[in-house]
Symmetry: C2
Subunit: 236 residues, 2 copies
């Protein structure tokens, strides 16, 4: 937790916040602050700044908040990801949030096991994992996550508008060109499931204007492909 994230409910006055949950425990056990010490803090979907510890007990902490800095610029990208297996999903949500993606579509594909859509993570733990990613990265802006359980209607009816006027790319290592140079331009990036998209799906995406790209001979797991591709596509 490189940034402690607050929400509006944590404030008891415009500049004083009180915490007694896992964030308090983290502060108490890891930062071990004294009264007057300063912590790095952010407001969810707001600014970043400094918190001075004004009261501290073994059950809670009071912080004087001064928010004075914008959060890091978002990556100008929409990420479209075939729904990963539940075991991977939490980590990928954290990674996506930590890397600065703000628009994430989790979509169906032939090789997405139907059972994945029943994962309780989708119902109850998306925001929790996004927050963990933001806390790690030092960002405040919560990504939007959209679930799309049907591939064809998504690609035919919704994706063309999402991808309009963007660099539209599928990470698909067959019949692909090398990943383009880093450029700070709006991009729609589609990443397939373990085992890849089937040819029909690639054709549909190509027909929708998406170019197949690869990042070398090696085939990466989704959890590595996401940071590798985002790091290569966008300048610092």
């Amino acid at each position: 937790m490189n940034l402690i994230l607050l929400n509006q409910n944590d404030f008891k006055s415009p500049t004083l916040a009180q915490l007694s949950d896992r964030r308090f425990e983290h502060i108490y056990n890891i930062h071990k602050p004294k009264i007057g010490d300063s912590l790095k803090i952010g407001l969810i979907n707001g600014m970043i700044g400094e918190a001075i510890v004004t009261e501290l007990s073994d059950s809670g902490v009071e912080l004087k908040i001064n928010l004075n800095k914008p959060s890091p610029s978002p990556l100008p990208t929409t990420l479209v990801l075939a729904l990963p297996r539940p075991k991977m999903l939490k980590r990928i949500l954290q990674t996506v949030a930590a890397m600065g993606v703000k628009e994430l579509y989790l979509i169906n594909s032939y090789r997405v096991d139907k059972s994945y859509w029943g994962s309780p993570i989708l119902e109850h733990q998306i925001e929790e994992n996004l927050l963990l990613g933001l806390e790690q990265a030092g960002d405040t802006l919560l990504p939007n996550v959209y679930l799309r359980k049907r591939f064809k209607p998504f690609v035919e009816d919704e994706l063309p508008e999402i991808a309009q006027n963007t660099r539209a790319l599928i990470a698909h290592p067959y019949n692909a060109t090398p990943c383009p140079q880093a450029e700070d331009i709006p991009t729609t990036l589609v990443i397939g499931p373990e085992g890849g998209f089937i040819p029909y799906e690639v054709e549909k995406l190509n027909a929708c204007g998406f170019d197949s790209i690869h990042i070398g001979e090696r085939i990466l797991r989704v959890e590595n492909a996401v940071p590798a591709l985002l790091s290569r596509l966008f300048p610092i």
Copy 2:
């Protein structure tokens, strides 16, 4: 498993191999081949090629092997990593192998908990996890992993020679310059522990000729920093 990896002991003749372990189970349950079908295969530290299924039962498979292609080129890099917590270590070994790193030093640092050095993974599961990474990526060349439990002697006595005539970089987000452009040149990359190197350690590394670099405002976990940095530092 995008590549089935063989070792010399799997061969019963120069061109015939027999498998009955987890690789057989993967072939049997996932590929579900018939006699005559072809599988992608590689020899550990050797070539890549094709295996034709010549015999198949519910306890084993016999494969006719034709190795005819070199494995992907290694990344020209030595990676020096503060020993990650055991929970992360397996995944990071897989990632390092999958990304094409062939020289990995796991080193101590002030923020590496002493208990991590007692992890049974270090004694028994390094190769297993490297193999999982190679199987994923489609590579055959097993990385060398070196354990260095003392920071100062490593940096003073060993690192200068490792880093000689290479681009020597520490990923350290403070007082750092942006990560340099992708270039296919020998590189020594040092990545610190969770919480980062302490100033003394950064000074020692800077004194050894290492430049501090960052990949943006966001602070990434080691498991994301490794693919993000490698993907940015080396062209496809």
